[in-house]
């Protein structure tokens, strides 16, 4: 297969497309560094990604698969004098654990009687015993539980288990080198293009159908209460009448979720953007914000004594609150006003718990709870100065965009890293997904990494490398603490946890620690955020891990929602849920790893609600490498860019003004290439020209090594030119970026296919979908 090579020289090679890496990539590219940005995954944003429902099911399956042993190729033949190889880890199995999926929705649309033939696998006595016990606690074990569809399929498996036999056509992970042609094709995780054969994954493919009799996984940590609701073998058929007696509104079936799967954008991490946090500031400063849309979080809720209450935090909330007395209103407002400034009185509490400070303010239980858990969002032991700082931060963010301090990106958090990737591509960065680096080439004299060898064996020299920490083997990492994890749960529910007139609420729910457990942050997203289908809500729960995600979070889910274990709950029903643990990125040290000094480590998502950690990390890596340069300066106004061919879009006449290296490109010859040379300017000029220029590019790319560069440069022009022209021009870009893998073969096809991996285009399509 014709494999197009990448350019052999870059300033910075970045592995992983998570937020920190993507921000760094954009920052480098913006100041003129040549950036190669790779991800071995087939989707952008690493553990920050957002998936459609169907893509998430695929992701789940991948996580549950046994990691394929990578055959380590020996690249020592590429070594030169005085060089050494550092092999990188090729699987990222370590960051996600304990993936468990439960489906409580009926399999088919409701008119079909629930198929209740299948049984809980009786081969697992332990699990069953557990279940029985749990049922006895709750209610009568004997009568069949009046669950919506009791027998409906819960698939469950731990990572350690081989997945239930499936015929998933997902060969890529097994291959060390995916064929380049495929690397351009639509990754299954993102929206499957209509043309693709497996566009609508059968439920059977992703979730083993109930008939397949889930093997209760012999987990090391058996889930405390299995959700399978069919404990009694003799009762094979729960009276259907019972399950149908309740429904007042139309129940949403699993089939419906799958059918509507494209409407979902389910984030792996759950965070919010503080409206004066570093991420928002960065988005504004760098003009990256134009690539995304945002919604206000509309309210802050708290879960207290078994009830969900609204936390009044803005002036109008306080005014409208019905649960506060007027005196409480005054006290709260006064406290919020007074803590804006540091006072002598506050300093006296430095080092003592914030709780103590609060209780000395004589605010009363209500207000104290709100201030500690929902506004400062700290624990009872947090020192006063930290608690106050958190409170102030909250207050500063309030009112910038709305009545809460938070924003949420429409289409999910996975948009944000992609926006930065796009910025990087606009300024010439090259993107390859499903493309990795096998090893670093160490210059033994200087102890610097002088080049990398990519997963196809190409040697690419570079001045700096930024690595997502998953690429580095544990033996080279220095971590003072044992790795920490986050517990995550994702629920699809059929209603809001605190319904109001408006169905467009986006809520943050703070759940204070219960019985020594960690505090849980919960975000409920409505369809207005374009992350879930109409009639459903998407609920994210996050907390620092104590046990498995299921252990940590399922009791809370049971107490807040209607599940098979809490069938009488009058809250919203959980239709489907996913539990998993994710590595907590805040545990990774910035320095001191056994790595060359020009190799920089970045980490995945941390447990905090905001994005400060990742942004700080990107900025510090950037400043270490380029201490003199500005971090993400504003992108210039398209009107102010000087085009070399300012007269018209003709690419012919641009030799004179180009600087040195583009001059080279020009030299390679024909008019086509000129297009490249012009790239920064000219392509910009004529958005249309890109189309043709693009077709040219592929051919072009074959010609010279630089050609890729050039093709890429076309990007630059293009996107700059039309920040708004997200449409076709963009598709070209990313097609391009992907091209680098292999531009020749699919020339035009790449354009359409390629945009699926493009940050911008994907957004475009989804928007189109949403407008249907």
């Amino acid at each position: 297969m014709a494999t197009e090579e990448l350019p052999s020289e870059f300033d910075v090679v970045i592995l992983g497309t998570g937020l920190a890496e993507s921000v760094a990539a954009a920052a480098f590219s913006r100041v003129g560094q040549k950036v190669l940005h790779l991800d071995r995954r087939s989707y952008y944003a690493a553990n920050w990604a957002s998936f459609s429902f169907n893509a998430l099911l695929t992701w789940v399956q991948q996580q549950q698969e046994e990691p394929q042993p990578h055959e380590i190729q020996d690249w020592s033949s590429l070594l030169e004098e005085g060089e050494e190889l550092i092999y990188l880890s090729q699987s990222d199995s370590a960051s996600i654990r304990n993936v468990q999926v439960f489906c409580f929705a009926s399999e088919e649309d409701e008119e079909e009687a629930p198929d209740t033939t299948e049984e809980e696998d009786s081969a697992d006595p332990q699990g069953e015993a557990e279940e029985e016990a749990s049922h006895k606690e709750g209610e009568e074990p004997e009568p069949p539980l009046p669950l919506p569809p009791p027998a409906q399929s819960q698939s469950e498996s731990a990572q350690t288990l081989p997945p239930p036999a499936q015929s998933q056509s997902e060969p890529e992970p097994a291959q060390t080198l995916p064929p380049p042609a495929q690397s351009q094709s639509e990754p299954p995780q993102t929206l499957p293009p209509p043309a693709q054969s497996q566009s609508e994954p059968e439920p059977a493919q992703t979730l083993p159908p109930p008939a397949q009799s889930q093997s209760e996984p012999p987990q090391t940590l058996p889930p405390p209460a299995q959700s399978q609701s069919e404990p009694e073998p003799p009762q094979t058929l729960p009276p259907p009448a019972q399950s149908q007696s309740e429904p007042s509104k139309k129940k949403i079936s699993y089939a419906h979720l799958v059918r509507e799967g494209r409407r979902f954008n389910i984030d792996l991490v759950s965070k919010l953007m503080f409206s004066r946090g570093s991420l928002v500031d960065l988005l504004i400063k760098s003009n990256v914000s134009r690539y995304a849309e945002f919604k206000n979080v509309t309210r802050i809720l708290t879960y207290r004594q078994g009830r969900v209450e609204q936390v009044p935090c803005s002036r109008s909330d306080v005014f409208a609150s019905r649960q506060l007395s007027v005196v409480e209103k005054r006290k709260l407002m006064r406290f919020l006003t007074s803590c804006a400034e540091e006072t002598e009185e506050q300093r006296a509490y430095n080092g003592r718990p914030y709780l103590e400070f609060l209780s000395d303010q004589k605010l009363g239980d209500n207000l104290q709870h709100f201030l500690l858990h929902s506004i400062a969002m700290v624990t009872e032991a947090t020192p006063t100065e930290q608690g106050l700082a958190a409170t102030r931060h909250f207050l500063r963010c309030l009112g910038r965009y709305g009545n809460t301090p938070f924003l949420f990106p429409v289409y999910g958090l996975g948009e944000i890293p992609q926006c930065f990737c796009r910025m990087c591509a606009v300024f010439g960065g090259i993107y390859c997904l499903r493309h990795s680096v096998s090893c670093l080439l160490l210059d033994t004299h200087s102890n610097r990494c002088k080049a990398v060898i990519d997963s196809r064996g190409q040697r690419i020299s570079c001045s700096h490398v930024v690595l997502e920490e998953g690429f580095v083997g544990a033996e080279r990492k220095r971590s003072s603490t044992p790795p920490r994890f986050l517990s995550r749960a994702v629920l699809i529910t059929d209603g809001s946890i605190l319904p109001t007139d408006s169905e467009q609420q986006v809520s943050l729910v703070t759940v204070p620690p219960a019985a020594g457990g960690p505090a849980v942050k919960m975000v409920e997203l409505s369809p207005s955020t374009m992350t879930c289908s109409a009639g459903t809500y998407l609920v994210h729960l996050t907390c620092p891990s104590v046990g498995s995600a299921h252990q940590d979070l399922s009791p809370l889910v049971t107490s807040m929602f209607r599940t098979p274990e809490s069938p009488d709950h009058d809250g919203p029903s959980v239709l489907w849920c996913l539990f998993f643990n994710m590595a907590d990125g805040s545990g990774v040290e910035a320095e001191g790893h056994d790595l060359p000094e020009n190799v920089h480590l970045s980490s995945g998502p941390d447990a905090e609600l905001g994005h400060e950690h990742a942004v700080r990390q990107a900025e510090s890596i950037f400043q270490k490498i380029l201490p003199e340069e500005e971090f993400c300066p504003p992108a210039p106004n398209p009107e102010d860019i000087i085009y070399d061919g300012d007269t018209d879009g003709d690419t012919g006449d641009t030799y004179g003004d180009t600087d040195g290296d583009t001059g080279d490109a020009v030299n390679t010859g024909d008019a086509v290439n000129t297009g490249d040379a012009v790239n920064t300017g000219d392509a910009v000029n004529t958005g249309d020209a890109v189309n043709t220029g693009d077709a040219v590019n592929t051919g072009d790319a074959v010609n010279t090594g630089d050609a890729v560069n050039t093709g890429d440069a076309v990007n630059t022009g293009d996107a700059v030119n039309t920040g708004d022209a997200v449409n076709t021009g963009d598709a070209v870009n990313t097609g391009d970026a992907v091209n680098t893998g292999d531009a020749v073969n699919t020339g035009d096809a790449v354009n359409t296919d390629g945009d699926k991996t493009s940050p911008g285009e994907e957004e475009e399509e989804r928007r189109a979908v949403s407008e249907e």
Partner: protein
């Protein structure tokens, strides 16, 4: 560094912008001239509409062009079918919408929209209302929009309860909005009018047949709704006690009972053969149809106010022709008719009496509770409690203090006098910029209290010494006072209103800062004036005293005027009636 995008320098940008501006200006000026020419020639065609549209969309405040457009549209109305006219006007409305986007506070655009809306053959008021709501959601204090919205509501007959819900919404999103509160105050009386109270027996028979006029219905709201409003507004001022809008609304809720217009006192004096009439408010007696009937016979008399400065005054006097009532053995019956209102008051001058009067006293009328309404005491009491609660939390909040004072006065002016004074003291400290205002207000309340005390004691002596008075008011209530003691206050003048003390015989005003005696004017009975330690500096300041025929004793010790050369002889010349002069 290679690979960077090259950006134009600021100088280049400036230059380009300048050129751009010049170009635009040329186009603009040319279009404007074309428009003017067309208007002059009386051309009302589509082209003119187009050109003016272009101009107005970049500058919507060009009033002449709006006028021209109206001329064109009015012309088109005469030549086109109604359907077409409708289309033109609808297009005009959407054009106006774009103008409002350029400048949401453009007088021209809003006025033109109003004009178009009222001429539109088939107006779409829902759309207009929607536009207003959008506009107000962007700027909830855009008064142009509020005005326009009022018109739309009126024209389209939006139900009052919907409008009240609208103010609920606006207040909910931001209660610092006078417009919303004020709008509420106009809606509530319509939606929840006060149940008609049995009117006081003495006046006008209840006119059950005709509905009460809006003025009389005015601003009162039924008690049930009032309680809800109290709760709402309390939420606002507890949330942000420094926001004035809620406090003002609260003041409105607490209400200001309007005094009925009436003749409050008729005084007749045999010696001077004079009648003094006091009204509940300032009137112009010469123009209001006042009729004096003596013993059944209408009299031709000339009414004059107590001081030439007043065209409107609460006190008017007239003289009988000499000999009309000077016959001591005879009884006379007087009636003063206020033909306009109509109301009247009788007064009998009995045999052997030298004077007589007929009046309602301040205590009968609960005059000085009128700052606040006549709400049931319990409601006010609980309001006072919650304000006190707030005051404990915010001891220095001026709005809260002031409201407490007002509530206290409404409830029991004399009982709360001490607390009121203490609160005034705090107010002057926390809001020193307005300390003079608070002093005046406090003076007013002290005078009211003293009047009440005097009325209870049924005497004609008014003594208010050492109360830090800075101003005098309610002097019409002192028409019958014969002896006034104002000593040891901070008065700077005796204002013209002072001339309403028609019965005054002794004036004590030691230890003030009086420098002006303008109000001691034509006081027929005044005999003694004590002005020790004031700031009267020249003889001309004493000039008004010359109009008091009976003045005998004058104490000017401790005034700068005593230092004037020849002061004694000059005073003798100025005030020949004074026999006892202390300098």
């Amino acid at each position: 560094m290679h690979g960077r995008v090259k950006v134009k320098s600021t100088a280049q940008q400036e230059e380009e912008k300048r050129k751009e501006r010049e170009k635009k200006l040329k186009i603009y000026v040319a279009a404007r001239d074309a428009c003017f020419t067309k208007r002059k020639e009386g051309i009302f065609d589509d082209e003119a509409l187009q050109i003016s549209q272009q101009l107005l969309s970049s500058n919507p405040d060009f009033a002449t062009l709006w006028n021209y457009r109206r001329e064109i549209l009015m012309y088109l109305e005469t030549v086109k079918e109604e359907d077409e006219v409708q289309k033109i006007y609808v297009a005009e409305l959407s054009f106006l919408e774009s103008c409002l986007k350029v400048n949401p506070k453009s007088y021209g655009s809003w006025h033109h929209r109003w004009w178009v809306s009222t001429r539109l053959p088939k107006p779409d008021w829902a759309r207009e209302l929607n536009l207003c709501d959008r506009c107000l959601s962007l700027d909830d204090r855009n008064f142009h929009c509020w005005d326009y919205r009022r018109m739309v509501v009126k024209m389209s007959g939006v139900p009052v309860d919907q409008e009240l819900a609208f103010t609920d919404r606006l207040i909910g999103s931001n209660f610092s909005n006078y417009s919303s509160w004020h709008y509420r105050s106009t809606l509530l009386p319509l939606l929840h009018p006060e149940s008609p109270e049995p009117t006081s027996p003495c006046h006008k028979p209840p006119q059950s047949s005709t509905p009460p006029s809006p003025q009389i219905l005015s601003h009162r709201v039924c008690e049930e709704q009032l309680l809800k409003e109290y709760e709402l507004v309390q939420n606002a001022f507890f949330t942000d006690p420094n926001d004035q809008s809620a406090w003002f609304y609260y003041r409105w809720l607490l209400g200001r009972a309007e005094r009925e217009e009436m003749i409050s006192c008729v005084y007749v004096c045999r010696d001077e053969e004079r009648v003094a009439v006091a009204f509940s408010g300032p009137v112009n007696a010469q123009a209001c149809g006042l009729l004096l009937v003596l013993d059944g016979l209408p009299q031709r008399v000339e009414w004059r106010s107590v001081h030439p400065r007043f065209k409107h005054s609460p006190v008017w006097i007239c003289d009988f022709p000499p000999g009309t009532i000077s016959d001591i053995p005879n009884e006379h019956n007087l009636t003063v008719h206020w033909t306009e209102k109509p109301t009247h008051r009788d007064c009998a001058l009995y045999t052997g009496r030298s004077e007589s009067w007929c009046r309602d006293s301040a205590t009968d009328q609960e005059l000085f509770r009128s700052e606040l309404s006549v709400e049931k005491t319990s409601v006010l009491q609980s309001e006072l409690q919650s304000c006190n609660q707030l005051q404990e939390l915010e001891p220095l909040n001026k709005w809260c203090l002031l409201t407490i004072i007002l509530l206290m006065r409404a409830l029991d002016p004399l009982g709360y006098e001490k607390e009121t004074l203490a609160h005034f003291q705090t107010l002057k400290e926390v809001d020193s910029m307005r300390s003079a205002y608070y002093s005046d207000l406090c003076s007013k309340f002290m005078i009211e209290n003293t009047i009440l005390k005097m009325e209870y004691a049924e005497v004609r002596v008014f003594s208010i010494s050492d109360k830090n008075l800075t101003t005098l008011c309610h002097l019409d209530q002192l028409l019958l006072v014969t002896h006034i003691n104002l000593s040891s206050n901070q008065l700077q003048r005796l204002p013209p209103q002072f001339a309403m003390l028609q019965c005054l015989e002794v004036l004590e005003a030691d230890d003030n800062s009086i420098e002006n005696l303008e109000g001691v004017y034509h006081l027929p009975k005044l005999e003694e004036v004590i002005l020790k330690n004031n700031k009267i500096s020249s003889l001309s300041d004493l000039q008004p005293l010359a109009s008091c025929p009976k003045l005998k004793r004058l104490d000017l010790r401790g005034n700068p005027v005593t230092q004037t050369a020849d002061v004694e002889s000059k005073l003798a010349e100025l005030l020949p009636s004074v026999t006892d002069l202390l300098l």
